[in-house]
Subunit: 319 residues, 3 copies
């Protein structure tokens, strides 16, 4: 596997966004992830690849799921992991994010995985630090490893993303997952639609090369992949949409609605799901659903990213 | 050691309750624990037995003590450990326990250690997941590793549980520790009494084969082992008992009261102790007390359980 | 490296204070730290020195920074680490610190790193436990590893502490960092001044052999090292000082004020910094600042302390 990666050559220090990646880079990550996936199915799920490397997860927003996925990925590569979770209440008053990061840098970590509510925070750290920075979600901007695991999952099932039709349904305006996937699927040759109520789709999003639909059935008609986004309940109350119930009725994925999709279409969700709101249980657990495979591939994609960033300057075979 | 285990053959995927275990299974765990205990006294307290295995602790109720014991046990066997502590406030709204568990399962852990306030939660997960599930306490139902470490401690001191008289004192109604120990000690041939105020002993508990006492001196008369349960102070206020002080006076273990026990009787407590409430300091630190040995044996029992569940299908010598 | 240490012989079980250390002991720790520092710059930042040892961090006050430094230090020595963070709200009601510690001891850790708001808490544990205890800050009393990393940093830059003039500026009264550094620098032959408003300098501190100044310019005149302490904003409101702004004006380190220092003087800060309060950004990031080197040396010093305490009875070469 490493051969594939090294032949083409990985040179980035950081993974900040899908927007900045080339099609070749995305392919390189997905190929590497494919080859790492098998490790997690072994009896001894561990390779010494990143032994003696220090990976810090620095989360300014709670996310058990993403943190756990990174931590498992790092441990299966034998890296040492340090978890720092900064709840709003315990933030050290007066210290800036940059000072916190410079302090961590002084402890000589190899990789810092950052989740932060401010768009662009990972870029700022990446410029300031010698350590590699992985964006694990920044504000409403990007969540690149989520898009990579989504692309990996679709590629696995469909062979290629070229020419596929992806429909992303829900709160596009507040979704870094949507944004990263729009960039990613477009680069890989897919067509992308966004589907949702007018209040939840940002004006001018057509400039990203997507089609906008406000009717669910129309929006998913003929789609090869339908991705439901998680609805933040607090956003539904009043400001953006009348109610959860209303949302479910007009934009929830149900078996009935899904007849509009292409045959053998895939159903995706980044999790955690609100069953009965953006997706009904029979769809979530139905035959087209690849929701749990997304999670499995999440570990493989994160192993690949950790490996490429930490090992990028070497070139030896690390297996 | 492993020979003992494999000769008899361990076949369970999960450890959910003492109720479901046979006498032979309990003996197998205790024998395995006996042999693991020595590892923690070595200069290098670590064996490669579970290298490359992933153990997740998933705690929906806080418990530093039990989580730490499992984590140390897993690390001494060289497993990778991931801690997930879900406080009520940070529970992802809308996601069910089952969805959370299926997501974790998708990351291919080998063992999930679950503490949950709902009785039966571990059984539900065990049915749904490929990973082994260990019940680290479910509601008022069971806490099997606690009973196993208690049995290990008594067996170590007394040679056997056969024919011994155990008196469990305190809030039997709300105690999973009591329930697991009743099942365990009975299976191993001991007689069990429960002692406490009427409001804290569930009606019909005699059907489990125990004798009920409401007077402390009578209840512990002739007992070989007296186990004080932790009193939850919030339960004493009004509803179940007039006051902490009143409780201490009638059901607290003191040197004076303990004269009623058999000679060389053991004093146990699952911790954390309310000194001066359910137990006086001179009893807690006195000659019959094995309270800290319970903690030491907790690590050994958890190593044994992790080992049997993770290694149960192999059969090679793992040392 | 270990030769230096073993020739002189390290014999302490615990690291509780700088006050109790001899000049030779401090030198031994700093020499050991010097030799460990290089490990963190390797491609594989890990040595097997403490493999199979269990290090527990037990923090009763939040401190991401110090906990992380100890955790990284332990992991680079291959020890297993367990983090226990006891927020006030989740403290198990009714259990004493000593009972908590005795319970942890029963799980056979090698080292317990304790932070606690009560001065003397580490000493109490050290007497009661077989495990080594490291004081990671106790009340307003001592924070010995902070002083050791400060001394290491100054020694590295200046060759020796002998004859240097150190000025510590700020809230001396509530600073364990100040106290540990006063003991440490004095023992190593430096002169020490404390500088701050009368309300923040404890009466009688001259008995520790320091000079007291209430004027910043006078206090740092000719100093080779100026150490700004973190101001706890809550302490400024009313009781001890009129306002943050007032404090910055009279006791904040600025480029202008620092002209009073000796040439090539060092600027230190234990972090986290309140930029614009006790230190201006141009000073914090200026040429004399060794603030981030302090953090780097923190990992090395903690590796040294863990190593000496855990390995102190052996004598083999551990590299």
């Amino acid at each position: 596997m490493s051969e594939v990666a090294w032949q083409k050559g990985w040179w980035r220090k950081d993974l900040l966004s899908i927007k900045e990646l080339s099609r070749e880079e995305i392919q390189m990550i997905l190929d590497t992830a494919d080859s790492f996936k098998e490790i997690s199915t072994r009896d001894i799920k561990k390779v010494p690849t990143l032994r003696g490397k220090t990976v810090i997860t620095l989360f300014y927003e709670p996310s058990t799921r993403t943190r756990t996925s990174f931590e498992i990925a790092a441990k299966r590569l034998s890296a040492d992991t340090i978890n720092i979770s900064v709840s709003t209440s315990s933030v050290v008053k007066g210290e800036t994010l940059l000072d916190t990061a410079l302090n961590l840098q002084a402890m000589e970590p190899d990789i810092i995985v950052l989740r932060h509510s401010a768009a662009g925070a990972p870029d700022m750290l990446a410029r300031a630090l010698k350590a590699s920075v992985i964006n694990a979600g920044d504000g409403f901007r990007e969540h690149p490893t989520q898009a990579l695991l989504d692309m990996m999952t679709v590629r696995e099932k469909k062979g290629s993303l070229e020419g596929l039709l992806l429909a992303i349904v829900g709160d596009i305006a507040h979704s870094r997952v949507a944004r990263s996937n729009i960039y990613g699927f477009k680069k890989m040759g897919a067509r992308v639609r966004v589907v949702g109520p007018g209040t939840l789709i940002p004006r001018g999003i057509e400039s990203l090369g997507v089609e906008v639909f406000h009717d669910l059935r129309e929006g998913i008609r003929g789609a090869d992949v339908v991705m439901a986004l998680r609805i933040q309940r607090e956003r539904l109350e009043g400001a953006f949409f009348p109610s959860e119930r209303e949302y479910a009725r007009f934009f929830g994925l149900s078996l009935d609605v899904l007849r509009e999709m292409a045959p053998n279409a895939l159903i995706m969700h980044p999790g955690p799901m609100n069953r009965g709101v953006e997706i009904t249980p029979d769809v979530a657990d139905g035959p087209g659903s690849v929701i749990l495979e997304q999670v499995t591939n999440g570990v493989a994609v994160r192993m690949a990213v950790l490996y490429l960033l930490a090992g990028g300057t070497r070139g030896e075979d690390l297996h």
